[in-house]
Structures are given as structure tokens and as C-alpha cells.
């Protein structure tokens, strides 16, 4: 299934949307299929597949360190395409990477290659609304949902413009900072941002990301009125503690699954 449809369907069914983030690392490709299946079984709605970049300015030490490792292991674009083919069999898959690797493969050819590998969404953390024009048309042509990010500090007018331009979902960043740096979400008042996005694009799911690390932070996130969460750093830490798919699945279930007992 495709990213936009899967999220829209789950939202209509009043399920909360859960999108875990997995970084592509050549050394982890062997476990990828099992990991994605375990995430799906633990309640993931879709998957964000991260392609490492040498200068990930939106990322804190955990994800930046993991990206450095992945590059040191020789991870390249072919690994991304291979990972996408594997992952998209089990979950709708969006690729998250910085602008430069995509531009290097050129917008039309790079996006077409992703789409052919089963990718149905693209998230670029250093792509501002101002720069997104050519990306939006290229994504549209490649049949990829270009997911835009919104962040605290934006005016309601700006949030509305971003929500109208975003496809698949709106990725709302929960705090001022890089990934994995805040212990809990909810410091800035996100409710007005969520409301502005809803008014501008009522059909677009809104997901909150950055700083979701356990059941408490996930529940606080959902209380801001969003449809779901993106989980990155904490999942990476869980994988570093125990990379076995069953353990990774158990960890995700402990955050977003039904309460035990």
C-alpha cells in the first residue's frame, strides 16, 4: 500500500498513526525484513527509511552518530534502493534524507529510482517551503508524496501554507532542537499549530515527531490533537541495545501498543 492511502485509511478508521524511523545501514540489511515485519506487527502504520547524509544538521548525536557509522560501513544509494524494495513489501515506505543526496542523483532520476523501488513518500528535513517548488512537481511526477515539516515558531499563516503544500502527512516538529534532544514533548504550545494545519488541510494527517521516546511521551504527543507519531532516536537506541527483530518489535509495542494487563 502507498503511504498517503495507508495513513488516510488508518485515520478514517480512527487508529492512531505510528511511523517508526529506520536508518539504512549496509550492515543491517540482513535483518531489515524481519525488523520491518516486527514493527508492522507491533502497530506501525508506515515506515520512514533514513538514508544517511554526511552533514545531518537536523539530527542530534544519536542519529548523526548512526549515520556516520552507516557511511563508515560503506552504505550507498544502492543500499537505499535495496532496503526500500525489502521494506515496502511489509509497510508503506517513505524515504527521509537531506536535500543533497537526492539532488546529486537529480530530482527526476533520483525520485523515479526511489519510486521504482517501492517508495511512496519523501521527507527532506532541510527542504524549506521556499525551496520546495521544484521538489513538489518532481515528486508529483514520480508519484511520491512529498511530506513537508512544520515547526514551533511558525505563524499560523505559515503553518497553513505548509499544510496545503504537504502530501501524505504533515510532519510537525515538537520542539526547538535537533532529533533526540528533548526528554519530553509539549514544551511549546503545539495545539494552535495543529489547529491551523487542520483548518488549512482537513484531510491531511498530522504527525508529531522529535522526542517521542516512551509511552508517556507518545501519549502526551497525542493529546496535542495530532493523528500519530514518528519515532526515531529512541528506536535507534533500542536497536543499538538489542538489534534482534523480536526485541525491536517488543520495544515499539511497549510505546504504542495496547497496555498490557
Amino acid at each position: 500500500m502507498r503511504l498517503a492511502d495507508a495513513l488516510a485509511d488508518a485515520r478514517s478508521a480512527r487508529r492512531r498513526l505510528v511511523v517508526p524511523y529506520l536508518l539504512v545501514d549496509r550492515r543491517r540489511l540482513g535483518r531489515l525484513r524481519g525488523t520491518v515485519e516486527a514493527l508492522r506487527d507491533a502497530g506501525a502504520t508506515a515506515l520512514e527509511l533514513g538514508f544517511p547524509f554526511s552533514d545531518p544538521i537536523a539530527d542530534g548525536p544519536v542519529l548523526a552518530g548512526a549515520a556516520d557509522q552507516a557511511l563508515a560501513h560503506g552504505t550507498d544509494w544502492r543500499d537505499l534502493l535495496a532496503a526500500a524494495r525489502i521494506a515496502s513489501r511489509s509497510l508503506p515506505t517513505a524515504v527521509m534524507t537531506y536535500a543533497n543526496p537526492v539532488l546529486r542523483h537529480t530530482l527526476p532520476a533520483g525520485l523515479a529510482a526511489l519510486a521504482r523501488s517501492g517508495v511512496s513518500g519523501l521527507i527532506v528535513p532541510d527542504l524549506s517551503l521556499e525551496e520546495s517548488g521544484p521538489w513538489r512537481s518532481a515528486s508529483h511526477r514520480a508519484d511520491l508524496a512529498l511530506v513537508l515539516l512544520a515547526a514551533p515558531g511558525a505563524t499560523p499563516v505559515r503553518i497553513a501554507a505548509i499544510a496545503r503544500a504537504s502530501r501524505g502527512f504533515l510532519y510537525l516538529v515538537s520542539y526547538y532542537g535537533t532529533t533526540g534532544s528533548a526528554a519530553s514533548t509539549g514544551t511549546p504550545d503545539l495545539a494552535p499549530l495543529v489547529r491551523a494545519a487542520r483548518e488549512a488541510a482537513p484531510a491531511l494527517p498530522v504527525l508529531l515527531g522529535f522526542g517521542i521516546r516512551d509511552r508517556g511521551s507518545a501519549e502526551r504527543a497525542l493529546r496535542t490533537g495530532v493523528d500519530g507519531v514518528v519515532i526515531g532516536t529512541a528506536l535507534e537506541e533500542a536497536i543499538q541495545r538489542d538489534p534482534r527483530p523480536a526485541a525491536v518489535g517488543r520495544w515499539l509495542a511497549s510505546v504504542v501498543g495496547p497496555r498490557a494487563g
Binding site: D55, I57, A58, D68, L129, E130, L149
Partner: protein
């Protein structure tokens, strides 16, 4: 002021920074039109910074080259020892205008860090400077100067531990603290409006060259030469001369012979690094390459977007000079003129002497001597051993 230079420039940044970039753009546009701001900028440039800097005829170096006359634009005499002051002062005043109590900066050679620390002290703003740990080692005197000036120096130990990594760290700090902090970016790089603002504050170099050369030898120079790290002293030199016939030559770091060096314009390709679309040293997947240069200030895989456009449009020319040749030029200037240049402009000096050699004695070559060499004594003496 253009957001783009041909296809280059733009602002590729996380959404969290966008409001701050808009705020900065507004503040700068207002400030430029505010006579009070301009008066203050001018007063501090002169009375604190020591402007205007002289245009000096390097008679002995000219004799060595046996060709065109070589003149030095003495930015090494600016307060702090480099052109970096020009931009740090301007942006410091903007930060105060925006009510931001805290400055952060990146630094490679330490000159921009020193300039920011000085301005932070002058204007009463808290100052923290990110510096790669490799650069802290090779530019130690500047680390000590920053600390004495009251700034906190934060070592960066990721990546190659040089300028690129320091910019990453500063950008991450800014994303977290953007409401209270101004990122005082030190070169003509980064997302719009930084390249435009930095070029604006550095253009005083080229404006002075214009009037001083007419006064000194009756016309504009035939060629101006400046080193290019991120490209701030070069764009400051070039900008006011763009609509003239003066030839423009930018000199990048070629690194050790046989290495890939740090020449983004001479060996790189178009790409996005640190918020703008420009030339970047990168691999086939767009991963940014590690660089190598004897000079910390030129040891950077990116370059300002306006230079990318000047290169593509053919208005300026860019070449790379190797470490050993930069060192030779360092010693020439020391012996011939009694001036110790920084290693960064030593690259430009080497190219200027080579160019002067090819030209008749009726021509004039102006080199921007962007900084003084005190910070580099350790590296230079180490290389001699």
C-alpha cells in the same frame, strides 16, 4: 538583494530556522536604510576597527616578480588581525538591533571566532564559538585569545573536526536556541540572507580598493586576487568591482600535492551544503568529502553561492594553490616586505606573484591580504622542520 545568484543560493534549512532567517532579512534591510545604524557601523569600523586599511605598494615583492606592480590591501591591519571584523561588527549590531542577547559562531582559523568574541565583548553579548578540535590544536593562539576576550570555545569532535563540523555544530545550537541567539556566520556561505549580508559588510574592502587605487596609481587595478575559503574576503573584494573591467581571481586551497585539497570551485560540483546550493566537494551520492589544507580557514568543502555564479558566468576565475606554494609566498612576504601574512592569503599571494610575472610593469595587481600570520607561526615553523 537577490536570494539567488543564477541558480545558486537559496535557503535549504530545517523549518525551525526559517522564521529567524526572515527576521534577520527584515532587520538587515531596515538597518541598511537607517542612517543611525550606518553611522554607528561607520564609527566603530573606523575608531574600533581601524578602517580604512591602507593599500600598500609591495615594491620588493614586485621586484621579485619582475612584472606588474603588486599592491596589498592590508586587511591584516584590521582590529583582531583579519577582515573577519568587518562582518562580525555588522552582524553584531544587527543582533543587538534584534534584541538577541547571545551570539554563536563557528570558526576555522580562529579569526572569525576572535572577531566575534571582540564584538561580543564590545556590545555586551554572550558569545560561544564552535571550533573543530583539529583546528583548536593548529590555531592555538586564537583559542587563547577568544577565551581572554570572554568567549566560550566549544570543541567539536565530530567528522574531520574542522570548519565544516564546526558549522554543523553551530547550526544545531541555533536550531535549539533560535529565539535568544543570533548565529553570527563568518563567511559568505549558509542560507539566504547570510551570503548577502556577509558580502554587504565585507564590500568595504572592494570599495576602498576602488578609491585608493585611483588615488594611488590613477586608475582601477587590472587584476584583484583574494583567497577563497567560504569566500567572504573575496566577495568583499570583488563585489564593488563587478561592473568594471577589473579581472577577478579567487584562490582556493589545493592542499598537499596529490591530495584532493579543499577547492570546491576548482574540483567540486554543484550541491547543497549548509543551507545553500553552490559548489561542494562530494562523492557520487552527495556525501560531502573531507578536505585537506595547511590553512584552517580554507579547509572547507563548500563555498559561497555568489562565487559559484561568478565562476559559471565567467565573471571571475578560480584556481587552487598547493600548501607548499602558499608557504613559499608566506616567506617571500616576510623577507621582502617585513609582513607576516596568514596562511590563507598566502595562497592568494602566491597566485598574485605568478600573475604579476606574466604581466607588463604597467599593470597593477591588488591582493587582499586578509589576515596576519601570528596565529600560524606554529604551523609554519613545524613545516620548516
Amino acid at each position: 538583494m537577490p536570494r539567488r545568484y543564477g541558480p545558486f543560493g537559496g535557503s535549504f534549512v530545517p523549518e525551525t530556522l526559517v522564521p529567524a532567517l526572515h527576521e534577520l532579512d527584515r532587520a538587515w534591510r531596515e538597518a541598511r536604510r537607517d542612517p543611525e545604524f550606518r553611522r554607528e557601523l561607520r564609527r566603530l569600523s573606523e575608531t574600533l576597527g581601524g578602517r580604512p586599511t591602507p593599500l600598500y605598494f609591495a615594491r620588493n615583492l614586485t621586484r621579485r616578480a619582475r612584472g606588474a606592480e603588486i599592491w596589498l590591501k592590508r586587511e591584516d591591519l584590521v582590529h583582531g588581525g583579519a577582515h573577519k571584523f568587518n562582518n562580525a561588527l555588522g552582524q553584531g549590531l544587527l543582533a543587538r538591533r534584534m534584541g538577541k542577547p547571545r551570539l554563536i559562531a563557528e570558526t576555522g582559523a580562529g579569526q572569525h571566532g576572535v572577531a566575534t568574541a571582540m564584538i561580543g565583548a564590545t556590545l555586551g553579548l554572550d558569545t560561544e564559538v564552535y571550533m573543530g578540535s583539529v583546528d583548536m590544536e593548529r590555531q592555538k593562539p586564537n583559542v587563547e585569545r577568544m577565551r581572554l576576550l570572554g568567549a566560550k570555545v566549544i570543541p567539536v569532535t565530530t567528522g574531520a573536526r574542522t570548519l565544516k563540523d564546526a558549522i554543523n555544530a553551530a547550526l544545531r545550537d541555533w536550531i535549539a536556541n533560535v529565539r535568544t541567539t543570533h548565529y553570527l556566520l563568518g563567511s559568505a556561505v549558509g542560507p539566504y540572507p547570510f551570503p548577502a549580508i556577509v558580502a554587504d559588510f565585507q564590500s568595504v574592502i572592494g570599495r576602498e580598493i576602488r578609491t585608493q587605487s585611483v588615488r594611488a596609481f590613477g586608475r582601477l587595478p587590472d587584476l584583484v586576487v583574494a583567497c577563497v575559503g567560504g569566500g567572504s574576503n573575496a566577495i568583499g573584494t570583488f563585489r564593488p568591482l563587478l561592473r568594471t573591467k577589473v579581472e577577478l581571481l579567487g584562490v582556493e586551497a589545493g592542499g598537499p600535492r596529490g591530495s584532493k585539497g579543499a577547492g570546491s570551485l576548482t574540483s567540486g560540483s554543484p550541491g547543497v551544503l549548509h543551507g545553500s546550493f553552490s559548489y561542494v566537494l562530494q562523492d557520487q551520492d552527495g556525501q560531502v568529502s573531507d578536505t585537506e589544507s595547511i590553512s584552517a580557514g580554507l579547509d572547507y568543502a563548500g563555498v559561497g553561492p555568489e562565487h559559484a555564479w561568478l565562476k559559471e558566468s565567467g565573471r571571475a576565475r578560480y584556481i587552487a594553490v598547493h600548501d607548499t606554494d602558499a608557504l613559499r609566498a608566506f616567506h617571500w612576504l616576510a623577507r621582502d616586505e617585513g609582513i607576516l601574512p596568514a596562511l590563507e592569503p598566502s595562497h592568494a599571494l602566491f597566485a598574485a606573484v605568478a600573475e604579476a610575472r606574466k604581466r607588463p610593469s604597467t599593470q597593477h595587481v591588488v591582493v587582499t591580504l586578509s589576515g596576519r600570520g601570528d596565529k600560524d607561526l606554529g604551523v609554519v615553523l613545524g613545516a620548516a622542520r
